[in-house]
């Protein structure tokens, strides 16, 4: 596995005491689901570190635990056991998790999330959908940031359209824009091209790559598409909830 320190040095991100931000450190993460009498280890002892500015992709067959893992790393879900640190701050350690309101703050400030489904509100325009996070979380300069992101993702000319009037690729760009307006440090993308054709998928891949190189955004991508996974600088393979270092 890659050494986090090396990457940090490579990208010129200064190391801070207790770990630079945003860095994710996970140790022996386990997530167990119960299905009837059966126990499913969706994530089974995963240890890894994601450094600032990295573009990591998780790949693996369906059911290998990618979604479960990225949700734990993104502070959307708690592991059954193990340890999780974000920027040196303890999120979860052996049964004790941060309170929900602190987690909300962390999600707000650190993460942007993109999913396979876009979850756009059909009666709001593209611009209004992108602005949605600010309804709950007022920030000065929000309007300008929204317009900047719309421009950045090439959907500025679609700003006054409703989601039903634009293509699937454009809808996913809107969803990415919405995930980015809060200026997150890390973008968590779970199968973001799952609903798109090859051409649109490549467009999204290009956008993610640009965001990583030009904006310095840390990106964690989940996919079962090898071509898309290759957009990332680092590919981590999962099999049955365990890391599977590729040959």
């Amino acid at each position: 596995m890659n050494d986090g320190r090396a990457i940090r040095a490579q990208h010129g991100v200064p190391a801070a005491p207790g770990g630079a931000c945003p860095s994710i450190a996970a140790e022996r993460l386990v997530k167990t689901y119960r299905r009837g009498a059966e126990r499913i280890h969706a994530v089974d002892g995963v240890s890894l570190a994601i450094e600032p500015g990295e573009f990591v992709s998780f790949i693996g067959p369906s059911g290998s635990g990618k979604t479960t893992l990225i949700n734990i790393l993104g502070c959307l879900d708690n592991p059954t056991s193990g340890r999780l640190e974000l920027c040196g701050r303890r999120i979860f350690e052996e049964g004790a998790a941060l309170g929900e309101s602190k987690l909300t703050d962390i999600r707000r400030e650190m993460f942007g999330y993109v999913f396979q489904k876009f979850y756009l509100i059909p009666t709001l325009t593209v611009r209004e959908n992108v602005m949605l996070p600010f309804v709950f979380y007022k920030k000065p300069g929000a309007e300008r940031e929204v317009d900047r992101i719309l421009e950045l993702l090439g959907i500025a000319d679609r700003r006054d359209h409703l989601p039903g009037e634009i293509s699937g690729g454009e809808m996913q760009r809107v969803a990415i824009a919405r995930a980015l307006v809060n200026k997150p440090r890390i973008l968590m993308a779970d199968e973001p091209t799952g609903n798109l054709d090859v051409a649109r998928s490549e467009e999204i891949a290009g956008i993610l790559k640009d965001l990583n190189t030009k904006e310095g955004l840390t990106i964690v991508l989940v996919t079962h598409n090898m071509a898309l996974a290759r957009t990332a600088r680092r590919i981590i393979e999962l099999r049955d909830g365990k890391l599977h270092t590729p040959a």
Partner: protein, 396 residues
């Protein structure tokens, strides 16, 4: 910048039909509620006005059923019983009595009236006491009678319109072939007096061959008198029926209260149904949007943000329903009046349904409060959706 109100409003537009139907449900409840309250107020007012306009607090009639008497007094009627005029003096002699006015009511079927004929009511009144007692009656034109036995008539406002007569015109009493001269026309009062033809008592007695007979005696009681004791004494008089207005008022109110209870039950049921409708609609939309709510939470919305959003949606629905319902009630007050008039055993002649802005606002307030309360549960439920909901449902 967009606010939470904008989002709530746009969310409601997503299932337009459902939102509109819910609003209609609430509007219906608000409509029923406003109309009922308006009726409650209007009826009481009109009844009091009718009774005040009578100018007397007690009416003596020949023995008969009290409801008939009430109808007779306020509405006029046929099938009359008579009493001898000699009783007037004995009543006037009572210490509590300020003044009395004898009356003789005669009703004649007029085949030329309206489309299929109608009843003309002639009320013989005492020119010396009646106009004084009925201070609220005002002349539109002309004056009261020139002579206590003159063959003259003063027409109520509507009677004049119906008969198409003005001052100095002649009026024919059908069947009897008697012509009388119109000497006055009254202003509109909004009471039964509008449809009455007033004549001197002596003239009516003579023309209709009822010399010395009366159908009613109005009694004005002295302000300081003990009315209850006086009523008690009057009830003991033989062969006559004494109706006091407080008694009439009570009788009518009792009759009406049955109808009121019914309408009130309908209003409560309508409100309950609409509350269930609102809760159902909002719960449904919360269920449909679980994943989306999860996303909002992942985006940094707190439980109380989501609570506020869903609550606002509920309140908007209810307030919209309240506005529509109150407006509907204001707009259909006349129609409601016609309907209620058809249903009630007795209705006073004034407006039955008094719906004002204050009442409409009150209903709006009530309905909005209902929204605020019924939104609590769905909003709490939505607020407790976990951000993970989003992804978990994707797995399944």
């Amino acid at each position: 910048m967009i606010g939470i109100f904008h989002i709530a409003y746009k969310n409601l537009l997503r299932k337009k039909t459902r939102s509109v139907l819910t609003v209609l449900g609430i509007a219906l409840a608000a409509w029923v509620l406003t109309s009922l309250l308006g009726f409650n107020r209007g009826y009481q007012n009109s009844l009091n006005k009718d009774i005040d306009n009578l100018g007397y607090q007690m009416l003596v009639t020949a023995k008969g059923c009290p409801y008939e008497a009430a109808t007779l007094m306020l509405k006029g009627g046929t099938g009359l019983r008579y009493m001898n005029a000699s009783i007037v003096d004995s009543i006037a002699a009572q210490p509590e009595v300020e003044s009395v006015t004898p009356m003789l009511m005669q009703a004649v079927f007029d085949p030329n009236k309206g489309e299929s004929g109608g009843i003309s009511a002639y009320l013989g009144v005492d020119p010396a006491t009646f106009p004084r007692m009925k201070g609220t009656l005002a002349m539109k034109s002309g004056a009261w009678f020139t002579d206590p036995a003159a063959r003259e008539a003063v027409l109520g406002y509507e009677a004049a319109e119906l008969e198409q007569r003005e001052v100095d015109d002649m009026l024919l009493i059908p069947d009897l072939d008697v012509e009388i001269r119109v000497v006055g026309v009254l202003d509109r009062t909004g009471t039964q007096d509008d449809g009455t033809i007033f004549m001197p008592l002596a003239a009516v007695q003579e023309i209709f061959g009822q010399a010395g007979e009366l159908t009613g005696i109005g009694i004005k009681v002295k302000p300081e008198a003990d009315i209850a004791a006086f009523e008690e004494r009057m009830y003991r008089l033989p062969d006559v029926q004494v109706v006091s207005l407080s008694q009439v008022r009570n009788t009518i109110m009792t009759l009406v209260s049955t109808a009121k209870v019914m309408v009130f039950s309908i209003a409560i049921i309508a409100v309950l149904i609409s509350v269930v409708g609102v809760v159902n609609t909002i719960l449904m939309s919360v269920m449909e949007r679980r994943q989306e709510i999860g996303i909002l939470k992942a985006m940094g919305a707190k439980a109380r943000d989501i609570f506020k959003l869903i609550w606002l949606e509920t309140v908007i629905l209810c307030a919209a329903g309240g506005v529509v319902g109150s407006a509907l009630a204001l707009g259909t007050a006349k129609l409601t009046e016609v309907f209620i008039r058809g249903v009630l055993p007795f209705a006073p002649s004034g407006g039955l349904v008094a719906i004002e802005w204050t009442l409409a606002l009150f209903t709006l307030g009530v309905v909005t409060l209902i929204g605020i309360l019924s939104g609590l549960y769905p909003s709490w439920k939505a607020g407790s959706v976990r951000p993970l909901e989003t992804i978990r449902s994707e797995v399944e």
